[in-house]
Amino acid sequence: MSAEPIDPGRTVEDPPADVPEADRRLLERTWEYASGLWGWLAEVDHTRIGVRYIATALIFFALGGIEALMMRVQLARPENGFLGPDLYNQVFTTHGSTMMFLFAVPIMLGLGVYLVPMMVGTRNLAFPRLNAFSYYVYLIGGLFLYAAFFLNTGPDAGWFAYVPLSGPQFSPGKRVDVWAQMITFTEISSLAVAVNLITTIFKQRAPGMSLNRIPIYVWAMLVTSFMVIFAMPAVMLSSLMLALDRLVDTHFFNPAEGGDALLWQHLFWFFGHPEVYIIFIPATGIVSTILAPFTRREVFGYMALVLSLVATGFIGFGLWVHHMFATGLPQLGLSFFTAASIMIAIPSGIQMFCWIATLWGGKLRFKTPLLYVLAFIFTFMIGGLTGVMLAAVPFNTQVHDTYFVVAHFHYVLIGGAVFPLLGGLFYWFPKMTGRMLSETWGKVSFALVFLGFQVTFFPQHILGFEGMPRRVYTYLPETGWGNLNLLSTVGAFILGLGVLVFVGNMLASMMSGAPAGDDPWESDTLEWSTSSPPPPYNFQYLPTVGARAPLWHRSENQPVVVGLRSDRREFLITGMLDADPDHRQVSPGPTIWPFFLSLGVGITFIVGIFTPWGLPIGAVPCAISLIAWFWPRGDQGHHVLKEKKS
């Protein structure tokens, strides 16, 4: 009995003959999920909230997809009358805003919320209640956008809401305000998740997981989180300025009173360009993670991959002006940002070569996740090349605001992020549910998604060359754009069918998929060393790590951590560099207050659309919730759940 307990002060009702089992039951009770509706709202477990993030984001993905199909129907033939110009504007704005703010970023961060604590070998995120708050704020922001959309108040100035179009003069009414507040909701949520992930990665890694043994996916989430912290304040501030210009007549963007419309573009793209990498970097982390089990080898070039991620994180902040090449900037500025935009291809290229090298030397298993990785490499290569083309000012000016740009960023975002994401969902679905997805239907949906995507978006390159501008609700027959647009529409429906099959496969497999077991793919990272789905405490004994691929180089003598109390939510804090055990802390249990705080934030921003009194009105419920949230109960040694039952 080497795994001997632990703390003599603890109460174990079972005799010591069966210590691990009794200990497990005690852990089970301490970390029990809260039950009932109240308990659902009070939940703070990272796997539960992570799955909610993913499910919610997928619903928004479906909504954004339906909007995309509506646009494609409208554009299928010249002078179509399916959507009028006003509704078309709302639909494309809501589509873009949904896909960026309610789908792509939340699902990437949500997957991180689910995976990172398990991958680094700890029990929960550093700030579990903050995590619950993040989710609810995101949810309220999304519901708010769609409530407004169905009330014919959907934003209609494009997903980057350029002034002066979005300003008080040209967008009266509340449509743009809805957009601005939705931005604030989702950014608060993302910022809170970023702080949570950074702290968890820095302070809660399993003993032995020094910096050079952190899984690449976790590195990717770390870099992403830092980018969130330095990029998202820009859009929060600029959307605040826009809201103030519209509500209380400030003049930030009003040239007549000393403001400047280009200030908006600078602030927005200082966020907006890093945003692309906030979506893309987690996807590259997924790719590096999936490659190992499906090539049966460790990913080639760990150090090069990590340094590329970090380099991308830095260079990503130096590109924003390439969205503004058509605004008449000084020559030096143009040259600088062209150079930076070409330079970022270097770390992306390094990653690409590392992945190819991994594939080259591996024994490939052509399961669905690997197919998505291969589709990613192919598609992102094209999107990356058109990106390098767009970095050249003369070319950029030629195709600015045409469908060439639409094709480019869908290649980068769908090819670069959604393909790896679908592969990742396929790969981690067994961990989340304990069941396998159907491989046959997985391949069917992959074929439809891949084919549908190329048929939809490749023709848009050509349409762009032919001069078709983006964001037009229709075009004349004489332009000759009809056939390619029809082809693109057909592709969109194939793509939609593929996503439908993917979701159907998920729903069916959740009910009746084959049992997965702990580690169905024979993977190398720690989340596969616990059961599927994981228990609320993740690991009965926290693991220690002696290698970069801990499950492939597991020695018999690799110790486990004992000595954490099981009668309260204890977890281990380790050092930042070498993950040496430092001290123990108690993780907070379920509580309703983060939910109430998110409601208070919701009241503040939604009332704030109509009157500046939104701030003092909303401050009251926010302050009450915050005080109740943090007020000490002196329950550190007690069974936290009991107190919450009401």
Binding site: L240, M241, H251, Q585, Q636
Partner: protein, 206 residues
């Protein structure tokens, strides 16, 4: 359970100060976010100033170098009792923490009072011109932080009075001071660009 080597952590402490505590990192993250926001505010100021013909706009009177500097001095002075409070927290000297928190809170409230007087002397409002929008919005955002600081102090004073105070609260006291230093530091550059520069150099052409 087979024989398996273990790493026993039961002897480790349950509290730690400074950057060993995850809460320190959470606060550092918050300060990075808000610091970025203030930095972008300053960048916006210089961006609009660079494009202006006359900056500050014609007819803008300086609220007075004396009163704005006095206000900064009060704000800087509030660091001292906050530092003593953090010091006392390290020694777990509860009455001293309370005393210094009260002194700090009085100073911060005084700062807010003088700030209101400064705002009353301004010859423009947020809707007068972009310059006014910048100054009022920045002051507004910073005031929000100052008010949060006051509320935090009052809560900690209440906690210290009513209890139960645990040893982990001592780190909260120290982090409270750390956050306050940050709130103070954020104002210094804005004092310089809003009041010191135009005050010393006069209304300069952009």
């Amino acid at each position: 359970m087979s024989e398996r080597p273990v790493l026993d952590v039961s002897g480790l402490p349950t509290t730690a100060f400074g950057h060993r505590d995850p809460l320190w990192w959470g606060l550092a993250g918050l300060m990075s976010i808000e610091g970025t926001m203030f930095a972008i505010m300053a960048a916006s100021y210089f961006y609009l100033r660079g494009g202006a013909h006359l900056w500050p706009p014609a007819g803008t009177l300086h609220p007075g170098l004396g009163i704005t500097t006095l206000n900064l001095a009060i704000l800087l002075a509030s660091i001292v009792p906050m530092h003593f409070a953090a010091d006392a927290a390290e020694r777990e000297d509860l009455p001293k923490i309370r005393l210094w928190l009260i002194v700090a809170t009085v100073l911060i409230v005084a700062f807010l009072g003088v700030r209101i007087a400064v705002l009353q002397r301004l010859t423009f409002r947020w809707n007068s011109h972009a310059y006014g929008s910048l100054i009022w919005t920045t002051v507004g955002l910073h005031t929000l932080h100052v008010v949060t600081g006051i509320v935090e102090n009052l809560l900690l004073i209440t906690l210290l009075t009513k209890g139960p105070v645990e040893d982990k609260h001592m780190d909260d006291m120290r982090l409270n001071s750390m956050y306050w230093y940050f709130v103070v530091a954020c104002w210094v550059p804005f004092y310089c660009i809003f009041f010191l520069d135009p005050g010393l150099l006069g209304a300069s052409a952009g």
